[in-house]
């Protein structure tokens, strides 16, 4: 079975990444918060897929796929 090293990180904040337009950031932040991405929450980075452009993370008991741009908004 393929084995992988996962990484657990504490979320500090959700910040606007440079390549995200302003009008897209607010709804994105809202969606991330609704999934439980709040400061101080533990986020486990499980793996990168889709040629490194999608990051699979675990938050609480939920597995979430984020694209590179969305993941870059999470500050650890």
């Amino acid at each position: 079975m393929p084995s992988e090293q996962t990484m657990k990180k504490k979320l500090i904040s959700i910040c606007k990444a440079q390549n995200i337009p302003h009008e897209q950031f607010a709804p994105l932040k809202q969606r991330l918060e609704s999934l439980g991405f709040f400061p101080d929450t533990e986020v486990e980075v499980l793996k990168k897929i889709s040629f490194g452009h999608v990051v699979i993370v675990r938050i609480f008991q939920t597995v979430v796929a984020l694209n590179k741009m969305e993941f870059s908004c999470l500050k650890f």
């Binding site: 393929p2 809202q30 969606r31 897929i49 490194g52 675990r58 008991q61 939920t62 597995v63 741009m69």
Partner: protein, 635 residues
Amino acid sequence: MSQILNTLEKTTKIALVGSPNSGKTTLYNWLTSSHFKTVNYPGATIDYAVGYLHEKGERNLNFQVIDTPGIYSLQSDSEDEKVTSRILMESVDMKPDFLLLIVDSTQLERQFYWIKQVLKLGYPFAVVLTMSDIIEKHRNQIDIKKLSSLLNGVTVLKFDGLLGQGLEKILTVIKTTESIQNISSPQFEFDAKQIDALTIGNVSELQKTKTDYLQQTIKIDRWALHPLFGYGFFFVFMTLLFSSIYWAATPFMDVIDTVFTHAIELTKEYIPGLVGDFISDGVIAAIGGVIIFVPQIFILFVGIGVLESTGYLARVAALVNRPLERVGLGGRSFVPMLSGFACAIPAIMATRNISSKKEKLIAQLVVPFMACSARLPVFGLLIGFMFLNKNPLFAGAALAVLYFLSILVGVLASGFLSLYLSKVGSIGHNTLTLELPMYRLPNMKVIFRQSFEKLRSFVKRAGPVIFALAIVLWFATSFPRHQETPDAPSTVVVGETYASQLGKMIEPVFRPMGLDWRVGFGLISAFAAREVFVSSLALVFNIDGDNDERIQAGLIDKMSEAQFESGPMQGQKIFTFASCAGLLIFFIIALQCISTVAILKKETGSLKIALGHLVLSNVFAYAIAVAVFQTLSLF
């Protein structure tokens, strides 16, 4: 009339509100006795459904139940969540009188984000805890009293979606809503500790079970989302799905075939004359031409249902995100695209889940290129003809190739649209943020029931169109008839019928595709519904009244003998490998379904876009089909 208006005015509206996959639609089905689809992927409810309460088989007009799309938050940018927000915050006609908040017991910590937002709106409400059987399986339970006291004494109920346990209590609460409408909504702040404290029993064991469950999912994902094997599995599953549509359906199709053949024979035997001809050659042959493909369509629905309910579909969406991004789409477009293989109409509606305007528009325009189930009868007939007397595996492989070809057409179209839209101005970046549900074993009973419902709606939709066209086509292919004489009954001369006369006028348009008026006639009738093509062929190729053979086999026999009756190609065979290949290409590219055009207009908000798609795709399909036929004819 005034009585109806009075009833409507008195109707109490109950809205079911909850996050995606929390079990809203399941409860809605129990409350209204309907069989709507519930899936393990965000977006089962893409529009809201409204139904009257059903009790002991009786409809109760005093209560309307609204099934709203799942929400993570009330301030969302996705269209489906906006539907719920609008119902709760803006709607006048559909403004609910009472809310049933559907809360997934296994994900309590995540539910309170939207619950807090909804409660601030001030609606009277009750809480329904779903999935509590999972908690109780591990000797735990949610402390209902504590939860109720945290919510100012609001009613909290449990509901088991599989067995319907708890339904009676929910019905009692619904029917007493009037007496509790004046309750004030609580303003509260929850913290994680309070939420944890709601679970009674061995919390650590429950946590361990949840963690074990999660770890199991993560372990499977090591293979399913592997950079190399992940795509391998994806390819294998898709090939299995698409090829099984052919070989797994064959035995069932044979049974249907036999039944219809006997029905035709019996009708001809017992009902002589014109009426018998009409019923056997017109109605039964036309309906049989479509019903025979029901097993294939059913297998497709079941296959997609299994992929959805196991949780694998969401993984594939994440896996193919990057390749789809390259052509202007994204992972969120994957489910609408795959649903497009079943039917373009719900698939186009499912694009509401996509928040990027650019991605959404591209997905809406590309979905019709996916080979929908209505094309299956056409594919089945033409492939059956092209691979007659050959190993059925070849036919299965050919069908898989057609599906991949339709994906290729979709990819090329979306790449082109992406380039075009980038040139005319960027309209947003693609977003993913996709919850990957835990793996579950599929509930085959539910999947079969849902597939059966979809199949029924497919047959119901196609049936009246086929019947109406059957009458028109039978008339057009059976008249004028030669006068009846004492020695002989009235007869039909093939080249003199109304259909023949009209068809010959339009034949020059279809001749470059290697087709005569009869096939052209079938192509035109396919604009009503693609599957009508087969029944139209069945009718126009049986105009001599000789229909003793089995429906499809008989049609294939006729096709192999069919020749051009006049013009420069007179005497040449119509159905060759080249002309069938051209026809298949035409069916892959052309947007023919008028219902799809209507839904495109509704979802894009532009008649110009919908009609533009109709015209351009048909012109393009015609040009490519001509090119394919002419090129293959050289060999």
